[in-house]
Amino acid sequence: MRFSKSIVIRMIVVITLCSAGIFAVTLVVNYLQSRSMLEMELEENARNLASSLANRVDAELVSVAKVTEGMARSLDTAEYSREGLVSLIGSMLDANPSVYGSAIAFEPYAFNKQERLYAPYLFRDEGAVKAIRLDASYRYVPYLYQDWYQIPVELQAPVWSEPYFDDGGGNATMATCSVPFYYSSGGKREVKGVVSADIRLDSLTQLISSVRILKTGYAMLLSRNGMVLTHPDSSFIMNESIFSIAEERRDPVLREMGRKMIAGESGFVHHSLTDEPGWMYYAPIRSTGWTLAVVFPEAELFENVRSLSLTMAGIGTGGLLLLALVVAMATRSITLPLRALASATGPMASGNFDVELPAVRSNDEIGMLTSSFRMMGKSLKEYIRNLTETTAQKERIQSELQMATDIQASLLPRIFPAFPERPEFDIFASMDAAKEVGGDFYDFFFIDDSHLCFLIADVADKGVPAALYMMVAKTLLKSEAQRLRDPGVILEHVNNILAEDNESCMFATVFCAILDTASGELIFSNAGHNPPLLVGSGGVRYLDVKPGFLLGPVPDSGYETERITLRNGDVFFLYTDGVTEAKNREDELFGEQRLLEILQGDFSMAVEDMVHAVRSSVAGFAEGAAQSDDITMVALQYTGNGISSSAIDAPLIISKS
């Protein structure tokens, strides 16, 4: 359950997260690209809108300026009466409905020498044109020091004033176009007065607010000083300038923008004068140095993009949920058979191969896995049956081999002392088989009353064939010894018999000796066996015997019979190569020298102790390492003829029989 759950959850998490990531990136990229496309489009739109609006305002202002200029130029040349001036202004107002009022104001004593100031002014008042005199109507500041008069006079150039409330004149918020007119005095041009034409700010506000910009966008007019002239928030009008807003918002960027505006530049900026983000395009109105700005609130501008993105996000989220569901179902359909298989193979793991596996319904990996499990169960069952049979067989062979070992052991004389009734010698032998059935053997028996034959042999190879060969060899040696009574001849005969039908090319080394118990004379012959040791009162040494050829492989091999005479106490020690070639864990050999040293130890030892000493020494040397060869020893001590133990350096009496 846990296993299937974890796969399902992992699949859901991985697939859903990956999809969500891809989807989110797509969504964001889409949103940003749409925005930037929209911004590009917006800039174009804003530029067109602001420019066209600025041009419309400019066109109106330019036409007013032209008319005013025309009046000024006519005043340069012609002298007008009071009535003439009024009718000049009146006809101008009639021809130009966008002009709110107009004045012709004279420099001190310029109209006539009697009157210091003279300034007729006509303006529209409730549908009618009203005529007043500005020299009388301005209560506190004479018209001479009003911006609309003073600035063009000082500059001697046409000027559009900053919008102002004309207190005492038109009594409205207006902007005035003023053009000086001149007279010539001694070739010098002197200002005679100023012609003015007023535009009400209301009319500009109407023109500008009539332009719809989205739902909440707006156009805005700024004066040459950055003063806000039109704005949806009327508290801004004539009170705030772009610079005071910048100061309040501590926004140096806005101030810099304002400076660009009043310098007559145009631009597209991400700024809306308020906290609400927006885009603004500003363009100059050339004739007045004012600025027209179009503001697009960002929220509204990107509303469509945002709602599209939200819809996409909604669809995406739904899709992701659906995807998670589908992944869960698909993964479940995979893990269910796996779960069934897992629960079915549980008993199989504990050895029950007869369980019913779920039926293979599809040809997919799960089906293949089920088939494989089924095959595996079958094969394992078969294998276990074979193994059981083989084991039974092996056990039988094992027991038979054990029996063979017992039989083999029973063939060797194992009762010691072997001849308690014969005091003239003592003999002891032992064999430790490396495998169950050894290839070594020894034997001793009397061939007549005074002659004891004893021998030691080592059949090449181990196991059953060696044991069988050993049986044959032992039997032959015993029977031939009793018949022939000479070791060399015995070996020669036995060799010929063995070589006769030796198809498997088996062979053995044999050392065969016959002791005359009365004289201590010992005759012996060697068929490839290790040289024997003679332990006498003078020490221990290896006898230098003729090696002779192995018994078995080649017929008609000659074997010499040699002889020595044992003195009282001499021990004749035979051994197989299992002793000298015993190995320890470091693969060192026990060696002939070590054997020699052990036997040198105590001359007075009994033969049995001697054999046991060698055995325990070999075992100690091997330190438990498994031995590959049988370890066999035969030791004979002659005690019977009164001749004392031979000196070790005494020449051996060896003669051919």
């Binding site: 500059l155 950055g226 772009i242 610079f243």
Partner: protein, 342 residues
């Protein structure tokens, strides 16, 4: 006030005791007076211009009931074009007026007996401004240039400076806008630090594009706004004069301690008077008022409102030498201090 009374000794105490006895006797005669509100003295004050932060202290004192606390029912009249403070005093329309020391000295010389009851602004905030681009980098550079000066009393300090330095200028009358300067109609304009200078900055001209010269740094430090009354008014009710001076001082202190509230009050009076109101401009103005009312005591208490004797004589001397006045009165004659009188 009360400290002074105590310090004047036992004679005053006796007089006071006598007064108390008389008062108690009269109360006994007219028991109804016992329950009457203490009567407020009615008085009026006219600032030298329409409402703005230049007069924040007075509006704040009025709005926060400080004049009433001093027992005065004060009316602040509308200043501005056509409302000359001196005329208002002469005509009796106003009891007290805020005006410049130079103005007061000129009128005093013309025979109108004006008395200073409190000197509010301690230093001159007048400047001469030119654009760096016009290459006028010193006072001498203004020689022969078109310089915009306000008509009347406000031209006294710059004219004093020019005459002292022997500079001849082409004087162009200024009204109440800076457009003549901005459009290049004049090369130099006079400006108040707390007003026109900021208007110019907020018309898109950066401070580093301007050369601005403070008159006070050129040795013409004529103290500006003070509270004045006619001698007979002051002498007629010294307690009222003292109350107005003290309450006004408290009003200024309150305004500087609570600038946003003071701005709210000023803006309210500006809208009521239908004058263009820009809060940032008023804020600038209030901050500069603090600089010139409390010079060097940024976090301290308001100065006592005493006209500095040296400043007074400097201004009088300068004006006399410039031929603007024939002479000027004794300091003690010109100033009146309620604490000094008693």
């Amino acid at each position: 006030m009360h400290e002074r009374q105590r310090s004047t000794g036992s004679l005053l105490f006796q007089a006071f005791s006598l007064m108390v006895v008389v008062a108690l006797l009269s109360l006994a005669a007219y028991p109804s007076l016992l329950h009457a509100e203490p009567p407020f003295k009615k008085a009026s004050l006219i600032p030298l211009w329409s409402p703005q932060a230049q007069f924040a202290g007075y509006y704040v004192a009025l709005e926060k009931g400080l004049y009433r606390r001093y027992g005065v029912e004060l009316t602040i009249l509308n200043g501005g074009s056509g409302n000359s403070p001196v005329e208002a005093l002469q005509s009796g329309r106003a009891d007290y007026a805020v005006m410049w020391l130079t103005t007061a000295l000129r009128h005093r010389d013309a025979g109108i007996r004006l008395v200073n009851i409190s000197q509010v602004i301690q230093r001159s905030s007048m400047m001469l401004i030119s654009r760096k681009s016009s290459r006028i980098d010193s006072l001498q550079g203004m020689n022969g240039k078109k310089v915009g000066l306000w008509d009347g009393d406000l031209s006294i300090p710059p004219l004093t400076l020019f005459s002292r330095r022997g500079i001849t200028i082409r004087q162009v009358p200024l009204t109440n806008t800076v457009n003549l300067f901005l459009r290049g109609g004049i090369e130099v304009t006079s400006a108040m630090w707390y007003n026109e200078y900021h208007v110019i900055l907020n018309s898109g001209v950066d401070a580093d594009e301007l050369n601005a010269v403070f008159l006070s740094e050129q040795g013409v430090n004529f103290p500006e706004d003070g509270i004045y009354g006619l001698e007979k008014t002051v002498k007629g009710d010294p307690a009222l004069a003292a109350a107005i001076a003290d309450a006004s001082r408290e009003g200024w202190q309150y305004a500087f301690d609570h600038p946003e509230e003071a701005l709210d009050i000023v803006m309210k009076y500006m809208l009521r008077a239908h004058v263009p109101a820009n809060r940032m401009h008023q804020k600038w103005m209030l901050n500069r008022m603090r600089d010139i009312i409390m010079p060097g005591t940024a976090f301290g208490k308001l100065p006592s409102g005493t006209l500095d004797r040296k400043d007074y004589h400097d201004a009088g001397n300068a004006m006399q030498r410039a031929g603007l006045i024939g002479g000027y009165p004794d300091y003690a004659d010109f100033t009146w201090r309620h604490d000094a009188v008693q």
